[in-house]
């Protein structure tokens, strides 16, 4: 027996995987999943790697599993979309060593472009899904998931959400299990070669496995739990929603599901029989309610209805059920918001500033630089998913045609380019597309906390791997007009952008290469404003260090925040910014 440790859900999953004897971990960084693989990589006797994207990560994981290793694969919910292709067929092949996929959802969209529910994937792919409600459960369920994966010959998904992944709760860790016997790989084309002749057989086996999983989900072994309370109100819930329900409706009877796919239908039906009204409480989804209905149970709606979108909270549940909701002080009206912003000295800032001067249609992408969409830069027309900047820019070109005067630009980060921008760019080149693609190469995967990627060559353990040369890669694809520009040099950025945008009939790739300011934390002597005319140009950069005096309208620079990058100094026509 070991001490209690305070672990986030992510750390707990990593610890459990190592303790269960997982020796291989793969993933792609994405909030709120990122720390899981980082924590796993720090464990003894394991190997972990960041892959270029979630599809690759799951395929590497499946290969490792086929080869006999217990394997952990981590991703955020939108990463599951990318990994969906191997996921659906891995559910046919099944596994060698236990294969566990951590899918971390982000209801409320704290750091995501949508709030989809990974339950649907588990259901559609016919894989087992476990739903921890705190770090202890994340640990226990993730540990159990490896043996379940081997038992049912199926990848097992552990579904976390931001409030599980990033909430630290005490965990009683166990001693590491004796490492399970290796499951040596033996050639078996009927299991691993999913051509139609073999896949048809595996499909039938898959469906029989689902029945076995259903039986297990309803058995006493399954991690479901009933809290008996007032028999008038029965609530079915899982994950973080369970914690909110427990607090908001302390008197209710609760069926807390640890396994949500397949639904333990018999357990739900017998729970429903014992309560007057049965409710389902879940976040930003109808997966559970639909599954409960499909099990033949009538689901009641609380008097005020539950929110259909966004994160839940005890207060939202209190309100839904017509319970008293605590009141705080009245909000102070008109408080200025404090949205996130590009950091002082961010090398992306100048690129967005110059693009906005070109009146271009700008397709953005996923990363810190999505913040270029916000005022005062306001330099983005669209942002949808990883890699879409490049392909959507091509689509805009096709729609606008040669007569439209507006230049079309795609803006993408280095890691995002490796993730899926590369295949988009190949498609554009192949189809003789035009336009301008700006690759903002800040030498890291910044938004998720500065992870390595193929274009900085840093591996997850912090050691050097192989660094790919971005400009040579782009050239090799067949882009004729590619150049690397220092984004801190305003004149150079302006000239490069102007030229690329002017040449409307060709494809230009501009690589703006300069490290993220959080990577090196190089702080130089701050600038100050010596003789301001109040023209306000420096304010249009949206640098958090630059402000203006309300009375005089003149600009000033906060010496605490300024890192001395000198971008604003280059924009000041009056040479008023000095140091």
């Amino acid at each position: 027996m070991k001490d209690m440790m305070l672990l986030s859900g992510n750390e707990a999953v990593a610890r459990a995987a190592a303790d269960a004897g997982a020796t291989v971990g793969t993933g792609y960084p994405g909030t709120p999943s990122t720390e899981t693989l980082e924590a796993f990589a720090r464990e003894e006797g394991v190997y972990a790697e960041w892959c270029t994207n979630e599809k690759v990560a799951l395929e590497v994981a499946l290969g490792a599993s086929a080869g006999g290793a217990r394997t952990l694969c981590t991703m955020k919910h939108v990463g599951v979309n990318v990994a969906a292709d191997p996921l659906f067929t891995a559910a046919y092949t099944g596994v060698g060593g236990g294969l566990v996929i951590l899918a971390a959802d982000d209801p409320g969209m704290h750091s995501s472009q949508n709030e989809q529910d990974s339950h649907w994937y588990a259901q559609a792919a016919h894989v087992l899904m476990l739903d921890p409600a705190d770090s202890q459960e994340a640990h226990d369920l993730a540990r159990e998931a490896f043996s379940l994966s081997e038992r049912f010959d199926v990848p097992v998904m552990v579904r976390s959400t931001v409030r599980i992944a990033h909430t630290k709760t005490p965990v009683q860790v166990q001693d590491a299990a004796a490492r399970p016997d290796a499951r040596p790989y033996e050639k078996d084309a009927s299991k691993w070669v999913m051509m139609p002749a073999f896949a048809k057989g595996r499909r039938v086996e898959q469906l029989s496995r689902v029945e076995e999983m259903r039986a297990w989900a309803d058995s006493a072994e399954a991690p479901n739990r009933i809290i008996l309370g007032d028999a008038r109100i029965g609530v079915v819930c899982a994950g973080a929603a369970f914690q909110h329900v427990r607090e908001a409706l302390p008197d209710a009877s609760i069926l807390k599901l640890g396994v949500t796919c397949p639904l333990p239908a018999e357990t739900v039906r017998s729970f429903a029989d014992g309560v007057d009204e049965l409710y389902v409480v879940e976040e930003a989804s109808t997966y559970l309610a639909d599954a409960v209905c499909a099990a033949g149970v009538q689901v009641s709606q609380p008097v005020n209805g539950l929110p259909k979108a966004g994160e839940l909270s005890p207060n939202l549940i209190r309100h839904a059920f017509g319970r008293p909701v605590p009141e705080g002080s009245a909000p102070v009206e008109g408080l200025p918001a404090r949205p996130p912003a590009l950091c002082p000295g961010c090398p992306h800032r100048v690129v967005f500033k110059e693009l906005s001067r070109q009146k271009a249609i700008i397709c953005g992408d996923i990363g810190c630089y999505t913040l270029g969409a916000l005022p005062p830069l306001s330099a983005m027309d669209a942002c949808v998913d990883m890699g879409a900047s490049v392909s959507m820019a091509h689509g805009f070109e096709l729609a606008l045609g040669a007569d439209d005067g507006r230049p079309v630009v795609g803006v993408i980060g280095d890691s995002t380019f490796a993730h899926s921008g590369l295949s988009s760019l190949i498609s554009t080149v192949y189809n003789a597309g035009a336009g301008t693609i700006c690759i903002l190469d800040n030498r890291t995967t910044a938004m998720t906390g500065r992870q390595g990627n193929p274009f900085n060559g840093q591996q997850i353990q912090g050691r050097a791997g192989v660094e790919l040369d971005l400009e040579r890669v782009v050239s090799a694809i067949g882009v004729e007009h590619v150049r690397t520009v220092d984004p801190n040099d305003v004149e150079a950025v302006r000239a490069a952008v102007r030229e690329a945008v002017r040449e409307k009939d060709r494809l230009d790739v501009l690589i703006f290469k300069s490290p993220c300011v959080l990577l090196e934390r190089k702080v130089q002597r701050p600038y100050y404003v010596a003789s301001c005319t109040g023209c306000g140009v420096c304010l249009t950069l949206g640098c958090p260090a630059i402000g203006k005096y309300p009375d005089t309208g003149l600009s000033y620079i906060d010496p605490q925040m300024c890192i001395g990058c000198g971008q604003c100094e280059q924009y000041c026509r009056f040479n008023a910014i000095v140091r």
Binding site: M4, L6, T31, P32, T34, H110, S111, D134, V162, R163, H166, T167, K168, T169, P170, A240, Q243, H244, R246, E247, A248, E311, L312, S313, P314, N315, L316, V325, P326, E327, G328, S329, A330, P331, V332, G334, L335, P336, A337, R338, P339, P340, A341, L342, C343, C368, T370, L371, P375, P376, M447, T448, G449, L539, P544, I546, G547, K548, P550, G553
Partner: protein, 195 residues
């Protein structure tokens, strides 16, 4: 169970303060949950860490009127957090205000009387940065604020101090201990009812 909301601006040390609180709670055998937000929201935006501590801890989310204690690292964020505070709750505020970009560029304005609004809310305003500097640990404003809150947190001061020792970088232990004590003393000198 007590719910404690730490709010501020990215980079102010709310997460370290939360870890100290959580360690102290764990060491004293209480249940604890600490919920943080990472990613997009961190980039200079408003951040908050939610802590639930005590017995029968369930939800890690703090909604309106649910916080027993709000420790605000910034005065504007303190005002923003007011609806979260219970009517009988304690509000501890760092005497600093980082202006948001919209205010810096003249697109929005701060309320006319921030200090008056905080006074009305019965806030204990702590000169945490100055106190930290005096204690010889200029970066420990977060620990000063924890010290100021020590008596209302429902955790023993000894446990908290032990947690400060175990959570801060080894070289800064003594300076942080002084910062913690200075914060505590400040709150006591203000004659705050310590329940």
């Amino acid at each position: 169970m007590k719910k404690i909301l730490l709010c501020g601006v990215g980079g102010q040390g709310t997460i370290l303060a939360a870890n100290i609180l959580a360690e102290a709670a764990l060491a004293s055998g209480q249940e604890v949950k600490v919920s943080e937000i990472h990613g997009m929201a961190q980039r200079g935006g408003a951040v908050s860490t939610m802590i639930a501590v005590g017995h029968d801890v369930a939800s890690m989310v703090i909604g309106e009127g649910e916080a027993d204690i709000v420790i605000a690292f910034d005065k504007l964020e303190a005002l923003r957090a007011l609806p979260s505070l219970k009517r009988s709750g304690t509000l501890i505020v760092n005497d600093e205000l980082i202006k948001p970009a919209s205010v810096l560029t003249g697109k929005a304005q701060l309320p006319d009387d921030v200090d008056g609004l905080l006074f009305q809310a019965d806030a204990l305003v702590v000169p945490a940065e100055a106190t930290a500097r005096e204690a010889g640990s200029p970066k420990s404003a977060n620990v000063v604020l924890l010290g100021a809150a020590a008596d209302v947190l429902g955790l023993s001061a000894e446990m908290l101090q032990e947690a400060v020792r175990s959570c801060v970088p080894p070289k800064t232990v003594e300076a942080n201990e002084r910062a913690f004590q200075a914060g505590r003393r400040f709150a006591e000198e203000q004659g705050r009812d310590v329940r």
